[in-house]
């Protein structure tokens, strides 16, 4: 279970999580994560043969709702708390069309 988190790993994870991270900080985070993960190594030795993953639910299944409104009321439109909006549309820096297509 032990794995050494490298600075390259940290940069990759930072990219997945869209967290900008400086080189200095990346090295620091790698150290911190390794320390934390070392403590997790003991889990690798626990016998979990045949043990299912934890479920918080009792097996009764999901409660569904009827296909009807009204929608949840908000005190304010979507563009009232948006950082940038125009004509009701939310604005973000322009993507070159299809750049980062749905990841």
């Amino acid at each position: 279970m032990a794995s050494q988190v490298s600075v390259k790993d940290v940069r990759h994870v930072a990219m997945l999580a869209r967290l900008g991270v400086t080189d200095a900080r990346a090295a620091e985070i790698a150290r911190e994560l390794n320390t934390i993960l070392e403590h997790m190594d003991a889990l690798g030795r626990v016998d979990t043969n045949g043990v299912s993953e934890y479920s918080a639910f009792d097996g009764a299944g999901q409660r569904l709702r009827p296909d009807e409104g009204p929608a949840i009321r908000m005190s304010g439109d979507a563009d009232s708390f948006a950082p940038a909006a125009r004509e009701g549309l939310l604005l973000v820096p322009r993507l070159a069309t299809h750049e980062d297509v749905g990841e």
Binding site: M1, R18, H39, L43, R63, A78
Partner: protein, 483 residues
């Protein structure tokens, strides 16, 4: 009438007074607001991030004007809410820069239920950023001080709400629990803190940290107040599919005698290196329980040692996903960068503090390709074993467990700088979150000035038993709980 730890009016007393006409909601709320200003401006405790001044006064007036409201169970009772619980028209910063400027357009279910019961929200309290922490030192808005000893932390992550009750601003307050964030600060501040069974209380409106662990919890100056507030907020909510379809009990009508009640004393929670003062007060509490007729039985929860590693894999994993929505697109902070990706990175690295960043990184890592099975999946399997420990003990004839809430009393600011060392503060509390069982902390003594908390853990949906044991112990200890 129940005794509050600071000698101020209990919620029960306030509600009774408003009902009888000897108190007005307006006066009560007005005093609470004044005290709120005082604790921060004068005592410099940094409890509140925002006061609900105008809303609070309007609501108090409404309570006074309505017969129905005046007769409600919490009529005129002022309360505080951790600033990760949504209230329409107010900020919900989650102790973070990233929600700067965001005003919630809707209210959490628990807020609506408390208001229907006549209670009046006085303000939003400080917390560790996104509820990640055990000391309220991780807030972007400065730490909160422990009202009993201002050089010490109040605990976390719901440190502000705990302090609000301990400082006598409000008799009840809402916090949130993921690994102990209500019980631990309750223990550090000498008050009662309750974590519900997972699914007992609606999470609708609670900003998610770790969805399979989160629950909104209650602080009270005494067990009766905490259980009244608990009874008001508990119950199925159609807006939260994880709430259970289980009837809400009457948590106040409990027997005083503990004859026939079996209390388990799990040996893993009483290690040799437990703080001597904490150990002493726990043994005294157990003696009191025996004197009330309970049988105290030695039991084992063998997988306890794995709880912290499991917790610190599962919680950050879920958090890394829950916090992805904070991206500067629809609300809150936006910092421009190089294109869209630059905007995401600048916003998130500028808006999140170091602990949150660390946990998102950790969570993303343990979910990522190649590591999912070794970390997340493995942790969720061990979690099943931890939950199994509780199920087995409760199935063996034990009605409730008694343990220390924390390994030590409150510690000084800056004294737990190693993240893993800080994580260990949760060692006795996070098991209940992992297993989904209800748990409560109440004051059981002092070490010097510092409160010590004792924890009662009950089976799923057996909060009635939990409140019974806690109430009985509280009465039996009396003033000794604060000595």
């Amino acid at each position: 009438m129940s005794v509050s730890s600071h000698g101020r009016r209990t919620a029960a007393q306030i509600a009774a007074g408003v009902r009888a006409g000897t108190l007005t909601a307006k006066d009560v709320v007005s005093s609470a607001l004044a005290r709120a200003v005082e604790v921060d401006a004068v005592d410099k405790l940094n409890v509140f991030l925002a006061l609900a001044g105008q809303q609070a006064t309007q609501q108090a007036v409404r309570v006074d004007a309505s017969d129905g409201a005046r007769g409600a169970p919490l009529a005129g009772v002022p309360f505080a809410a951790k600033d990760n619980i949504s209230v329409a028209g107010l900020q919900v910063t989650c102790g973070s820069r990233i929600l700067e400027g965001y005003v919630s357009p809707y209210s959490a279910t628990v807020i609506e239920r408390l208001r229907e019961a006549g209670a009046v929200l006085v303000g939003k309290t400080n917390l560790d950023e996104f509820a990640m922490g055990s000391s309220t030192e991780n807030s972007a808005f400065g730490p909160t001080r422990n009202p009993l000893s201002p050089d010490l932390v109040p605990g976390g992550s719901s440190g502000g709400s705990a302090a609000a009750v301990a400082a006598g601003v409000v008799p009840i307050a809402l916090g949130s629990e993921t690994g102990g964030s209500v019980r631990q600060p309750a223990a550090f501040c000498g008050i009662v803190g309750v974590k519900p069974t997972y699914g007992r209380v609606s999470r609708y409106g609670l900003v998610a940290f770790a969805s399979s662990l989160d629950q909104i919890g209650v602080f009270g100056a005494c067990v009766a107040d905490a259980s009244t507030a608990f009874g008001v907020i508990a119950g199925r909510d159609d807006r939260d599919a994880t709430t259970a379809d289980v009837a809400v009990d009457d948590y106040l009508a409990t027997e005083g005698s503990l004859k026939g009640v079996v209390i388990g004393r799990p040996r893993e929670y009483f290690p040799a290196e437990l703080d001597a003062g904490v150990a002493r007060h726990c043994e005294r509490a157990l003696d009191r329980l025996r004197s009330l007729g309970a049988e105290v039985r030695d039991v084992s929860l063998p997988h306890t040692a794995h709880a912290i590693p499991v917790y610190y894999i599962v919680a950050p994993a879920e958090a890394s996903s829950n916090l992805a929505r904070f991206d500067g697109v629809r609300y809150g902070l936006r910092i421009e960068g190089d294109g869209l990706r630059g905007m995401y990175e600048a916003t998130r690295s500028g808006g999140f503090g170091p602990e949150v960043t660390r946990r998102i990184m950790l969570g993303t890592y343990v979910l990522s390709a190649g590591y999912y099975d070794a970390y997340y999946r493995k942790a969720m399997q061990v979690r099943t074993l931890i939950a199994g420990d509780f199920r087995n003990v409760f199935a063996s004839g034990v009605h409730a467990l008694f343990t220390p809430t924390t390994p030590t009393p409150a510690f000084p600011f800056g004294s737990r700088s190693d993240p893993y060392e800080m994580y260990l503060s949760d060692i006795f509390t996070c098991t209940a979150n992992l297993a989904g069982v209800p748990a409560l902390s109440l004051p059981i003594g002092r070490v010097g000035k510092l409160p010590v908390g004792g924890q009662i853990i009950a089976p799923h949906f057996a909060e009635r038993r939990m409140f019974q044991v806690a109430g009985a112990l509280e009465r039996a200890l009396g003033a000794e709980a604060h000595r």
